[in-house]
């Protein structure tokens, strides 16, 4: 394992120091591992808190700022944060209008955020939660852990963040966040595994001509291992899976997301395929984002996330945002 790190045991604190130094508009509480807006909470504004395991950068710390998150709680690599982090973040960002927790649907995230929410309630902070579970590679069922939360998390954070910025009440912000989840689906493909620093080796071994279909963002193997195809073929597998789960038509928002080690030139090639193939399926890519946003350490591969837009969602997506990783409109 060759990595640009000092020590597998200090990856998260070392990276947080760098994040803090790179972004003066963030306040990084190194001791408690919380990333906050330097400007502090705004009275009357709903606070948005998210978090999860590290290794998915820029998610979530890179999305803290005007129009998006108020705080992010980074756990260890691929390990959800602990309740204390979430409680402290929630208390810190509460402007009196309550706090929305954006939680990706993993057992660890769900349990730790649930415990945190209970503790917040005890401390008098009103908390609502939205569970993001957009990954169609996982068969949904009442009897399982359900679907993973992946790329749609970015959409939820952006859209709910924009609405929160207008002073909308917690119930409204929660409603729109849930609406984004309901209208969004994702599918991921890996061309290589990732290596968790503390594990020291790749999370699985792929042959020179194999790809993992239906992977998440934690290096877990996917739904199936198949022969690799060209960008056109891989995109078509992803769109088939998404469209089989959610009929896609009309105007959509697309995230063509890199898994961390796939260069932008390749992501653009895949994105061109997405646009063409969605047109063939009767959908128009009205808004989009192409890049490494919801990553899986050094994994090669990509995911596609599609959100069926409404007028409101489009407006909130277009609203100004000013974070390290996403910025427009101001």
């Amino acid at each position: 394992m060759k990595k640009l790190i000092n020590d597998p045991g200090t990856v998260v604190p070392d990276a947080l120091r760098g994040l803090a130094a790179a972004h003066p508009r963030l306040r990084v509480d190194l001791e408690n591992r919380i990333v906050l807006r330097a400007s502090g909470p705004r009275p009357g504004k709903v606070g948005l808190v998210s978090g999860g395991g590290s290794g998915h950068e820029p998610l979530h710390g890179g999305f803290v700022g005007y129009g998006m998150l108020d705080a992010a709680c980074p756990g260890e690599v691929f390990t959800s944060p602990v309740p204390d982090q979430v409680v402290q973040a929630s208390t810190a960002v509460d402007g009196g209008a309550g706090v929305l927790h954006v939680v990706k649907n993993y057992t660890g995230d769900v349990l730790n955020f649930r415990m945190a929410a209970e503790l917040c309630a005890e401390e008098g902070v009103e908390v609502a939660s939205v569970l993001v579970d957009d990954d169609v590679a996982v068969r949904d069922s009442l009897h399982t852990a359900g679907r993973r939360g992946t790329g749609a998390t970015l959409f939820v954070e952006k859209v709910a963040g924009a609405l929160a910025e207008t002073g909308a009440p917690l119930a409204e912000v929660t409603r729109v966040a849930r609406e984004v989840v309901g209208r969004s689906r994702s599918f991921g493909v890996a061309l290589s595994a990732c290596t968790v620093p503390a594990a020291g080796g790749p999370s699985f071994d792929l042959g020179e001509t194999e790809a993992e279909f239906g992977v998440g963002i934690h290096g877990e193997p996917g739904r199936s291992r198949e022969a690799v195809r060209d960008a056109r073929g891989l995109v078509s597998v992803a769109l088939d899976a998404i469209c089989a789960d959610m009929p896609v038509s009309g105007d959509v928002l697309v995230l063509l997301n890199g898994m961390g080690a796939t260069p932008l030139i390749e992501l653009h090639i895949a994105f061109a395929e997405v646009v063409d193939q969605l047109a063939g399926r009767g959908a128009r890519v009205a808004r989009s984002l192409v890049g490494n946003y919801v990553t899986s350490l050094d994994m090669q591969g990509f995911s596609v996330t599609i959100c069926r837009l409404t007028e409101e969602l489009t407006r909130l997506w277009d609203a100004p945002v000013e974070t390290p990783a996403l910025r427009w409109g101001r």
């Binding site: 395991g53 756990g75 260890e76 690599v77 691929f78 390990t79 959800s80 944060p81 602990v82 309740p83 204390d84 993993y106 057992t107 660890g108 349990l111 730790n112 415990m115 590679a137 996982v138 068969r139 009897h143 399982t144 852990a145 993973r148 968790v196 503390a198 594990a199 080796g201 999370s203 699985f204 998440g216 934690h218 290096g219 877990e220 193997p221 739904r223 199936s224």
Partner: protein
Amino acid sequence: MLDAGFFAAWVEEAARSVLAGKDRLTRLDTAIGDGDHGTNLDRGLTAAVQALADHRPATPGALLVLVGGTLIRRVGGASGPLYGTAFREAGKALGEEPEVSPGALAGALEAAVDGVRSLGSAAEGDKTMVDALAPAVRALAQAVREGRDVREALDAAAAAARGGAEATVPMQARKGRASYLGPRSVGHEDPGAASAALLVEALRTVAARW
């Protein structure tokens, strides 16, 4: 006989054993999860040992509650809240008694498993730590009911835990990260079941030399 010192020794032995088995647990978690279970539990138990070194509660109950809280505060992931709850529930079940009878121990571990089950809503057969914990607690309770001494009873519990962990190999996961793999989760031992077996075995080890 089973005083706070005994439970402190258990936590220390568990930490040693998880450290020794860390790479194996991480390998198991790499196969059907995300490769952090060994590191997670090692971090948590190391913190728990440290917490006990800083301040050793006088009663078994308070000690286990402290350990559980430490796990919740330091582990994260699925196993942090689940193991944390297990220890907390066990501690709460023990109340403020300074010494624990075999029957009280069995009752506390039943409370622990119930806590895990109600938090994670996993049933036996879902391929989780419950598949090691539940049979262990059943074997313990059964042996205690049969009047066996605590060492024999914990031998039975440890054997049941190990057997339960091994029995997860052919299961298809329905809870936790491994469930994402569907049929591909079959053929691997569940990392949480494996670590649960280590914890019960550590209890047996400490009892044997107590």
